[in-house]
């Protein structure tokens, strides 16, 4: 037996039961789903009828619970199920939700919440004010530890092959913290400026806002923050890490994968050298992407982020074997040679001068050896982005006519639609279902291409319909230059004798760790994936660096935590949480006009202004709540206190008895729309007023939410959602009359000039001193109107008009004007506990509270032997009655365990 008693819920009843049992010597496990114990009572202003401070009563009890030697407290945890065992004891499954804060290290200083960039409604203040994703529930919380409200990965983060935390930098940019945003990106990937221009932004495709009124301009935000940072920091702010670990890693290839791996390894203290065959580093960024999309000074600045760490890049150095690197003392090798070998068509005339592959063509242009195309005809063959780029480049080089021939239809073109449209706007002619079958030349020089039309046939293995040549459609087309863009091959042939390869020429690796057949060699990027996106190559670089580090530290790679099993939040859940989203026009892309852009290699895409970008970032829905911006980590004075790699912790415990103390729910006022809550700003609930009156109140005093004015004429509407068949709750909630009278008295103290009217059906003041308390309120000047309120509406002057039936005086329908309306909401059963036991063993009463089988003579006993109920889980009760009831449940549990004869 792990514990004598499991108590579910640490509100006032759960705490009381825990203390009673603990004082009797029983070992208690007290499980609370919130981050603090105290339940709803700790949130109240005062208690009736004594007007004692609720906090002053609660906090000593909370402290006693936390420090009691026989009580084990487990907060932010939920009981997933309880199974009765044959011997009369129980087995319970308890899951501790990750707080992402090490409770042993957290000092409760609150610096994390001050730094946090995500604001959400504070449930502990009944939605009257914002809290942060990183938060301490309330000032008297026990334990007073921060919790990070993180629901998983945001879709933008999850969809990024590079693992860049887009939500994080968006929320930092939204807060105007541009340099922090840039630095956060640098944690994930160093090629910020390049990604900001050349990434195809799968994050934007997955953005939840995209399914509402248009995606967040995530790449535009990245562009803004990288431009902002680079303008202010022409050179990186950091240098070579002081601590080097003495290990050496060689990287083959200075493309996105190689640069990223080198960067991440150098940050960990490795000495890294990159070997690059080309004259300059950058790989595809340098040679494969035209400068109108990615200016080369941006690539240079991105690469400086890598070399500033001491990474050496040796260009014009071709590596054709791994073995010599091992002999040179490298402890590990990362092979990231890319995919720069072009596929050929295998047709006559491909070797003519004037027939080039797209990489060769783009490379020549990007290194300043552009061919003279003035007045010439250029034909590009292919349908991917690698065909669009040379076509648009040819336009800029003055070609008179630029054709793209593609053997399928537009629908099958792999190129992005916006790229195709951009090319067409610039004058590129698309010739679909057409392909050259031979190139014709004279004296070794290209003069024309013979082309044939195609027709789409049956789908091939890729699922696309196969092109079928149409005999008789051959045509000779005079051309000056042909650029073949029909695909690239991974550059793995030099290593095929040393490392295992796949049939398609890619290297065989463990897809999680990127280990090759040689334990000291890791591979990633296009040599593994085939031609892919920059972001994917960067992701491979990150993955390789992580596992090379593990390998060189002698760790077991099968225990890697690179891919943490953290779920991605569902878009539908985000939209449901948001309830409604008001339309906000998406930020339009800004591009040079086609007539202007096709005359030069000037960047097509224009940057957003600061105002545009903050507006754009402000449209973010904070899908995962926590954005992972890490502002909390930077603010936290304790190292390693906040960790985003925490996972839920599940355990099973055996217990002798169970006490259900799960409390109550409050009536949802949205079910009484005629009272205007949520629609009318100056209609609030009783719990909201209690928060406004509490010492830890969300406003500086009692103020109207609509404009911050002190109210001077307040109405209370009793029986909101209780004793009301239309609200599906016929029960009296027992406490609403008294808490409303309590609040009225407190308001008269806080706002002596305010008028207070309580609309009631009948006042139920049945406890000791309750009626006196009611009479006292009347004597103080609280105005009681016996009348059922029909509806509340807003008048033109912003005041609230209350329509009510006057039941006591002259009768009839009347109206009254107030400047604040408080709905005294009723209590409802919390049905959570009923599902914890198998086969509906835990019975509910007719009102869905946990049933006490013999309520009158055997309080707390439920339908399951050994399971007891305490407090409002079994019916509406005030605080003194809840405490009494908890005492009864504790006594019942104690007797049960003694009879069971088994103690922990």
């Amino acid at each position: 037996m792990d514990y004598d008693v499991l108590i579910i819920g640490a509100g006032i009843a759960g705490m009381e039961a825990a203390l009673s049992l603990g004082n009797m010597g029983f070992k208690v496990l007290l499980v609370e789903k919130e981050a603090s114990i105290g339940g709803k009572m700790i949130l109240l202003s005062k208690v009736f009828p004594t007007l004692d401070c609720a906090s002053c009563i609660s906090t000593p009890k909370m402290a006693d619970v936390a420090h009691h030697p026989n009580v084990t407290l487990q907060v932010y945890s939920e009981v997933e199920g309880v199974d009765p065992l044959a011997d009369g004891s129980f087995r319970a499954k308890v899951v501790k939700k990750p707080t992402y804060v090490n409770a042993d290290l957290c000092t409760g200083c609150g610096l994390c919440e001050t730094a946090c960039t995500v604001a959400v409604a504070d449930e502990f203040n009944a939605g009257l004010v914002a809290r942060r994703a990183a938060h301490i529930p309330f000032p008297q919380a026990i334990p007073k530890k921060a919790v990070i409200d993180r629901r998983g990965f945001s879709p933008c983060h999850h969809s990024c092959p590079a693992g860049v935390r887009a939500h994080g930098y968006i929320s930092l940019v939204r807060s105007g913290r541009y340099e922090e945003a840039f630095n956060l990106h640098m944690e994930d990937a160093p090629l910020v400026g390049s990604l900001a221009r050349a990434c195809y932004a799968p994050c934007e495709e997955e953005c939840t806002r995209g399914s509402v009124d248009g995606t967040i301009p995530i790449r535009g935000i990245k562009r803004f923050m990288s431009d902002y940072y680079y303008e202010r920091h022409p050179e990186p702010e950091y240098g070579v890490p002081e601590k080097k670990n003495g290990r050496k890693v060689a990287v083959i290839g200075a493309g996105p994968a190689g640069l990223t791996a080198a960067y991440q390894l150098a940050r960990k203290g490795y000495t890294v050298k990159i070997f690059e065959e080309a004259p300059e580093a950058g790989g595809m960024l340098r040679i494969g992407i035209p400068s109108y999309r990615l200016p080369k000074d941006v690539v240079d600045r991105d690469i400086a982020n890598v070399t500033a760490l001491g990474v050496e890049i040796e260009t014009r150095h071709e590596i054709s074997s791994i073995e010599p690197l091992k002999e040179q003392g490298y402890d590990a090798v990362f092979l990231a040679a890319g995919a720069v070998e072009a596929r050929t068509m295998g047709v006559e005339g491909e070797d003519l001068e004037g027939v080039m592959d797209c990489m060769e063509f783009l490379r020549e242009v990007n290194i300043g050896r552009a061919p003279d195309l003035e007045g010439k005809t250029v034909m590009v063959v292919g349908g991917g982005n690698s065909a669009i780029d040379p076509a648009r480049v040819a336009i800029r080089l003055g070609a008179e006519k630029v054709l793209i021939q593609y053997r399928r239809s537009r629908a099958e073109m792999p190129a992005h639609s916006w790229e195709i449209e951009g090319a067409e706007e610039e004058g590129v002619e698309l010739q679909l279902l057409r392909v050259p079958v031979r190139f014709i030349g004279k004296d070794g020089k290209l003069e024309a291409a013979e082309c044939i039309s195609m027709k789409l046939g049956e789908p091939d293995e890729s699922g696309r319909r196969s092109p079928v040549p149409q005999k008789g459609s051959e045509e000779i087309v005079p051309v000056d230059l042909v650029v073949l863009a029909i695909g690239l091959k991974p550059s793995t042939s030099p290593f095929a004798h040393e490392l295992e390869t796949n049939k398609n020429g890619t290297l065989k690796v463990n897809s999680h760790t990127l280990e090759t057949s040689d334990p000291r060699v890791f591979a990633g990027g296009d040599v593994v994936t085939g031609p892919s996106m920059i972001a994917q190559a960067i992701g491979q670089g990150n993955r390789a660096a992580h596992h090379i580090d593990m390998y060189l530290r002698g760790e077991d790679l099968s225990l890697s935590r690179f891919d943490l099993p953290i779920p991605t939040v569902e878009k539908k859940d985000v939209l449901m949480r948001a309830k409604s989203i008001s339309f906000r026009k998406p930020t339009d892309k800004k591009e040079l006009e086609p007539s202007e852009r096709c005359r030069s290699f000037s960047e097509i895409e224009q940057p957003f202004t600061k105002e545009e970008i903050r507006y754009g970032a402000g449209r973010c829905l904070d899908c995962a709540v926590c954005s992972e911006c890490e502002a909390c980590i930077r603010a936290c004075p304790v190292e390693d206190c906040i960790r985003f790699d925490m996972l839920p912790e599940r355990r099973e415990v055996t217990v002798g008895s169970v006490i259900v103390a799960t409390g109550y729910d409050l009536f949802n006022v949205e079910k009484k729309p005629q009272y205007g809550s949520g629609r009318l700003k100056n209609v609030i609930t009783g719990m909201q007023m209690d928060r406004l009156l509490a010492p830890t109140r969300p406003f500086n005093t009692v103020l109207r939410p609509s404009d911050g004015k002190e109210p001077d004429n307040i109405a209370y509407v009793l029986c909101t959602g209780s004793r009301d068949q239309t609200a599906d709750n016929t029960l009296c909630s027992r406490v609403c009359c008294m808490y409303s009278i309590k609040q009225a008295q407190l308001i008269m103290g806080a706002l002596p000039l305010a008028d207070i009217t309580i609309y009631y059906i009948d006042i139920r003041a049945f406890g000791k001193g309750y009626d006196e308390f009611y009479e006292q309120a009347k004597a103080m000047g609280v105005y009681f109107v016996k009348g059922k309120v029909a509806k509340v509406e807003e008048a033109e002057d912003g005041n609230m008009t209350v329509f009510y039936e006057d039941m006591a005086n002259s009768g009839g329908l009347k109206t009254a004007t107030h400047d604040l309306v408080v709905l005294s909401v009723g209590l409802l059963p919390n049905r959570e506990a009923l599902g914890l036991f198998p086969d509906q063993m835990l019975k509910a009463d007719d009102f869905h509270y946990v049933a006490e089988v013999e309520e009158d003579i055997d309080p707390g006993r439920t339908s399951i032997a050994g399971v007891f109920v305490a407090g409002t889980a079994s019916g509406a009760r005030d605080i003194p009655d809840s405490i009494l009831h908890a005492g009864a449940a504790a006594a019942q549990a104690a007797a049960y365990i003694e009879n069971l004869g088994v103690r922990s």
């Binding site: 939204r174 807060s175 008001s582 406003f699 500086n700 911050g708 002190e710």
Partner: protein, 81 residues
Amino acid sequence: MSDAGERYLGEVLRDEMIMKDSILAVLEEGPKTVPEIALALNASEYDTMLWVMGMRRYEMVIEVGGAKGDGYCQYRAIKAH
């Protein structure tokens, strides 16, 4: 989706992160009430109330005494921010 006039609470609260700099800039002129800040921002008083109270909670602004004769409190920026 609703029109821009009916904003869900979460949306308004989220905007505090965008608006806080503007609010602090407005308060550089001196203490102001919620309606005065709202007017300066061309924002709704309700939205502004939520932002100002959020900023008060995290010690970016603080009230200057109690409510004045018109029932409104003034708020000023806390210099550290």
